[in-house]
Amino acid sequence: MISVEPMLLVQNIVNGVFMGLIYSLVALGLALIFGVMDIINFAHGDFVMIGAYLTFLLATTLLVDPTLTAFITMPLFFVIGVAVYKGIIERVLGAEPLIQIAVTVGLLMVLRNLALMIFKAEPRGVPFTVFGFPINVGPITIAASRLVAGIVSLVALFLVHMLLTRTKWGIAMRATADDREVAELMGINVKKVYAVTFGLGISLTALAAALIMTFSRADPYLGLLYGLLSWVIVAMGGLGGVIGVLASGLIIGVIEAIGISVVSAGARELFIYLTFFLILWFRPRGLFGRR
């Protein structure tokens, strides 16, 4: 093992915590859709990617901070999510898992190729953000953009948690997740719950994308990275609700940071997936497994 400067390690871990919060936010939409609808949305990461490009376009044409574009992209993605649900997902609700997989993988291909067609595999970054400065806390330096992205993610996770536990819609969503048929018997309009869940899950990717664009660039393969990360997080902690997603996201963020510090930047994915396999080896149902 290569010796690491301790302060650098601490700094990277702090950064890892903020990245973990953002990963949790990205995974949250996937966890909601999977938990409530039992649908595996393979296109999830590619919604983040489309969201990132859209953030770039809006920020550079309207000349506003990328974070502000979320006020446009979130409602827009909600509507897109509902439309995708109505147009595609609702038709395969009762179908074989294989058909459901084919449908969302098809959606992934459409989104990815759309991005490739329009942006030709070129990464695009927003050249400005008010959060582009570093913050020094003693010997530790963190980018303000990551701090802000982490905090906004945490607030979003908290709000979704409150939605699920304290509101009529949240209880309807959790009842539907628990027993779809009985939820219907209770007078819950399950298809409406599904539409809202899908819309919400997709609109959360737009928020994540806007935050990511304050320190990173949009490129057509962003979908692969965030898609896989979300899957790892949901598999690890999905059944534990928002708290499970948060815990798994933080673990991934910190492990990634340690991997980068101790070995090299190229080792980040190796570390993430090794951790994932180890956790599933000892806890096949994930950290918060039930049933």
């Binding site: 209880i171 959790r174 009842a175 939820a183 018997l185 209770m186 007078g187």
Partner: protein
């Protein structure tokens, strides 16, 4: 006019026919029992009333209105509610959240607090356990919760599918007591499916006997109790 009426209903699951020409009436303020052997189609009858099967022909009229083509949630909005076979409480929700989930319709939502108080009055145990995860309740408690949850939608007609299934004799008596009280004190109309034929006929006003998807016998509960055929088939006395 009957509060709920099935007219020549043929229903099943996809291609699989279960009910043949079933006609039945439920009068307001009564307990109507449906009895019959396993697989006769009792559950299917209740599910058909709630709109959760394939209906090939026939009509279902509730409160003078045909509900045959309505989705399930609209039927609940109109005042029908069902306690499913095997209780099926929302296991990952608390007792309180289960009750809230039962009151999600417009009809019930505004009166949530009142209904909750009414339900806690009938089932004080649920109030004690309101913050417990429903998956950890005992069988009897879970059945109480399943009934309470259905009451939360403020139904006019309550459909009960084998509420005493798998419960200890003492609890079975309690459940039948509650069902009787719901009619006598809460002015609910009840359609009751039960294996305990004798108990059911004792509290019911009217009863139907269902065999292989057909109504083979019907009449006032008191009279059916004395029916030789029924006595033999169900060895009830």
């Amino acid at each position: 006019m009957a509060l709920l009426e099935l007219k020549n209903v043929n229903a099943g699951y996809g291609e699989f026919r279960v009910l043949f020409d079933v006609s039945a009436k439920v009068e307001r303020g009564q307990i109507v029992a449906i009895v019959g052997p396993n697989g006769a189609g009792k559950t299917t009858t209740l599910r058909t009333i709630m709109g959760m099967t394939t209906l090939y022909s026939g009509d279902i009229v509730f409160n003078g209105r045909s509900i045959t083509r309505m989705p399930t949630h609209k039927r609940v909005e109109l005042g029908l509610s069902m306690v499913p076979e095997g209780r099926r409480v929302f296991r990952t929700l608390t007792v309180y959240e289960n009750l809230v989930a039962g009151a999600i319709t417009k009809r019930a939502w505004e009166k949530l607090e009142d209904t909750l108080e009414m339900v806690y009055n009938i089932f004080p145990k649920l109030k004690e356990r309101r913050n417990q995860i429903a998956g950890t309740l005992s069988g009897g408690e879970a059945q109480m919760l399943a009934i309470a949850r259905a009451l939360m939608s403020r139904p006019d007609v309550l459909l009960l599918d084998e509420p005493s299934l798998g419960l200890a004799p003492k609890i079975v008596i309690q459940i039948f007591d509650v069902v009787k009280k719901l009619r006598d004190e809460a002015e609910k109309t009840i359609l009751l499916v039960e294996q305990h034929v004798k108990h059911s006929l004792e509290i019911a006003d009217y009863a139907y006997v269902l065999e292989q998807g057909r109504i083979v016998l019907e009449g006032e509960a008191q009279k059916l109790m004395k029916d030789e055929r029924l006595k033999k088939a169900y060895l009830i006395f």
